[in-house]
């Protein structure tokens, strides 16, 4: 219930618990962005940062624990784990960013068009989208990956395809909400063409939810890439990639050589976490506005 105070005291403005909570939240988002930047830098400068090549074998040090020469130890093939992690960042992040960008572009465009035009085109598109969404996403990714076969390029295609339907839906519902608004009517009266109206007027107002979802989506994309590689459906074997590293090291962990899977997993976890923190932060930012 209410606190009882003399009114004169009451009129001062204290820093309430709520305010402190908000500050903490933005700290989290900043932490997320910082980690993300660090990971990207690691990916970009991988060759400079790795004392060993990503597939270089050190025959004397198979399954060696962390040491000064091998900061994070070596795996069962004698390859340096730290170097592989740094190079693996390139693959995982590139694929995720690329795939999500493609999905946003294609899915967003289709969604915008179908939301704007409606009619039978809309019907058909939504039916097809429904079929794709009748599967849990990872299962769909699995199926498509099996069809396309292993390979970095194929992985990107898989993740992109699986992520297109949600963006179609998202953009479509936003466009439907916005297209009835008066400024659209005004643009029409001013003689602007359909395309100009759609992409010049409507779409720019529909971007907020997409901006929030995209980073979270990137996080999921990385997990999917790693998951597929873990199962053997992703990158070809010796390529350095976090998921397949975890898979290679799994058997060894059970026998006590923890570094083979723990470090790659940690890298994976932190990267995904940073994407999620960024996405969450953006969501809070937009919510407050």
């Amino acid at each position: 219930m209410a606190e009882i105070t003399p009114l004169s005291d009451a009129l001062a403005i204290p820093l309430t618990r709520r305010k402190r909570f908000r500050l903490a939240q933005s700290k989290l988002m900043i932490a997320g962005i910082v980690i993300l930047v660090l990971v990207v830098l690691m990916a970009v400068f991988a060759p400079l940062l790795s004392p060993w090549g990503p597939e270089e074998i050190d025959f004397d040090n198979i399954l060696a624990p962390p040491s000064p020469t091998h900061l994070m130890g070596t795996d069962r093939n004698g390859m340096d784990i730290w170097s592989r992690i740094a190079h693996g960042a390139r693959i995982d992040i590139t694929i995720a960013l690329l795939a999500v960008s493609i999905a946003v572009l294609i899915g967003g465009t289709i969604g915008a068009i179908t939301g704007f035009i409606g009619g039978w085109f809309d019907e058909i598109t939504m039916r097809i989208t429904d079929i794709f969404q009748a599967f849990p996403s990872f299962v769909l990714a699995l199926a498509v990956a099996a069809v396309l076969g292993p390979g970095v390029r194929n992985l990107a295609i898989v993740v992109a395809i699986v992520n297109i339907p949600p963006y179609i839906r998202l953009m479509r519902s936003e466009v439907i909400a916005v297209r009835e608004r008066s400024f659209v009517e005004a643009a029409r009266c001013a003689g602007l063409g359909q395309g100009e109206i759609l992409f010049g007027q409507v779409v720019p107002n529909c971007l907020n939810p997409i901006l929030v979802i995209a980073p979270l989506n990137c996080g999921w994309a990385i997990l999917t890439v790693a998951g597929l590689s873990f199962l053997g459906l992703g990158v070809p074997i010796p390529t350095a990639e976090w998921g397949s590293m975890i898979s290679t090291g799994a058997g060894d962990v059970v026998a006590g050589r923890w570094w083979t899977s723990v470090f790659p997993g940690l890298a994976l976890f932190l990267t995904v976490l940073s994407f999620n923190l960024t996405g969450e932060g953006l969501r809070d930012l937009f919510a407050r506005k």
Partner: protein
């Protein structure tokens, strides 16, 4: 009835106006007129600030009220005037972020200072609140009968078949036809009027010493309004509870209350027995409210120009001054004293007595 207009009344030269027969007693400020020694509720100098520190609102300022069992008090005011805050303070459900000073004494104990356990006993059992917008305030996922038995088991110790029987009786007593069917209904299946009756039933099921009805007749048609108000009044006259009815409808209150308090910008600017307040109003705002009531006889209605202010802190002048036709310099710089114009009638205006006399005269001439 002649048109009544509010004319500036020249200052008195030490003579009392003719109308009032009761001696004017200068009041030692801010005491309520009702209740007396048998007061169940005694609100003393209550001020409440609501909202976040950056956006504080003075919802109530120095409110004094009393209520005794069996009495019906009507609290009238515009939206935003602090009526619901008053109800919340009495029941003990002010939002966590609010600040309050003064006392809300219920049977001598200060509600504002109660600990959690005492508050829980106070909720419902002492004072039961009928919420505004009853449909909104009923649990949409729970049957009406169950919601009734929740209160019955807590406050009257009834369970099972006994509770069901009592719930049935309660629904009947608030005028619901086919109560058996309604017991098993969900709130969204009931009409607005029925929801209101259920809300009253829920409050009565708490066996409260005091019943507060917050806007019980908003959105209801005239016949329904009368029925509901009669129902609520019966809680006082037949069951001996203290009853407070909050409304913006002065006319409705006039018919069902013993006393009326007028709330403006969080302050009680007039309070007294219903006849006195209606026929011998002593405050310009009350007069203006009465003038603004649509009259069946077709006389022109006067809206009150301007809007009620939202105060950020307790006022240091008369809050009604900006809209008052009688306002003078001192109205804008000093807080008007609580003037007792009759033993059971007070108003906070510098010109209370003159206005009271004027109203009395006007009423006499009808």
């Amino acid at each position: 009835m002649e048109e009544t207009t509010l004319k500036p009344i020249p200052p008195i030269n030490g003579e009392t106006p003719t109308a009032s027969t009761d001696p004017v007693v200068a009041v030692d400020a801010r005491s309520s007129t009702g209740g007396g020694t048998g007061a169940l509720l005694d609100v003393r100098d209550l001020s409440v600030l609501l909202g976040k520190p950056e956006e504080r609102v003075a919802a109530l300022s120095a409110v004094n009220l009393c209520l005794a069992p069996g009495e019906v008090l009507g609290v009238v005011g515009e939206s935003g005037g602090g009526k619901s805050t008053l109800a919340n303070a009495i029941v003990g459900i002010l939002p966590d972020r609010s600040l309050a000073s003064g006392e809300v004494l219920f049977e001598g104990k200060n509600v504002l200072a109660m600990n959690d356990a005492a508050l829980r006993r106070h909720h419902g059992g002492n004072a039961a609140l009928c919420f505004q917008n009853p449909r909104d305030a009923l649990n949409p996922t729970r049957r009406v009968g169950r919601q009734l038995s929740d209160r019955l088991s807590t406050h009257r110790g009834l369970r099972g078949a006994a509770a069901d029987g009592e719930a049935l009786a309660l629904l009947e007593s608030v005028g619901i036809r086919s109560p058996k069917k309604r017991l098993r209904a969900y709130p969204h299946e009931l009409s607005g009027g029925m929801c209101q009756r259920v809300m009253i039933g829920l409050s009565l099921a708490c066996a409260p010493k005091m019943l507060i009805a917050d806007e019980p007749t908003t959105g209801l048609d005239v016949t329904l309004t009368q029925e509901i108000l009669a129902l609520i009044r019966a809680a006082a006259t037949e069951q001996g509870r203290a009853v407070m009815i909050i409304s913006h409808d002065l006319v409705a209150l006039a018919a069902s209350c013993d006393r009326i308090a007028v709330l403006y910008a969080g302050q009680i600017i007039e309070e007294g027995e219903v006849d006195a307040v209606i026929c011998r109003s002593a405050h310009p705002y009350t007069r203006a409210l009465l003038d603004a009531v649509p009259d069946v006889s077709g006389l022109p209605v006067r809206a009150i120009p301007g809007t009620m202010p939202t105060l950020r802190e307790p006022p240091s002048s008369c809050p009604f001054a900006p809209r008052c036709t009688m306002a003078e310099e001192r109205c804008r710089s000093e807080v008007p004293p609580d003037t007792r114009v009759a033993p059971a009638h007070r108003a906070s205006c510098f010109f209370a007595e003159e206005i009271e006399a004027d109203s009395h005269a006007a009423a006499r001439h009808q």
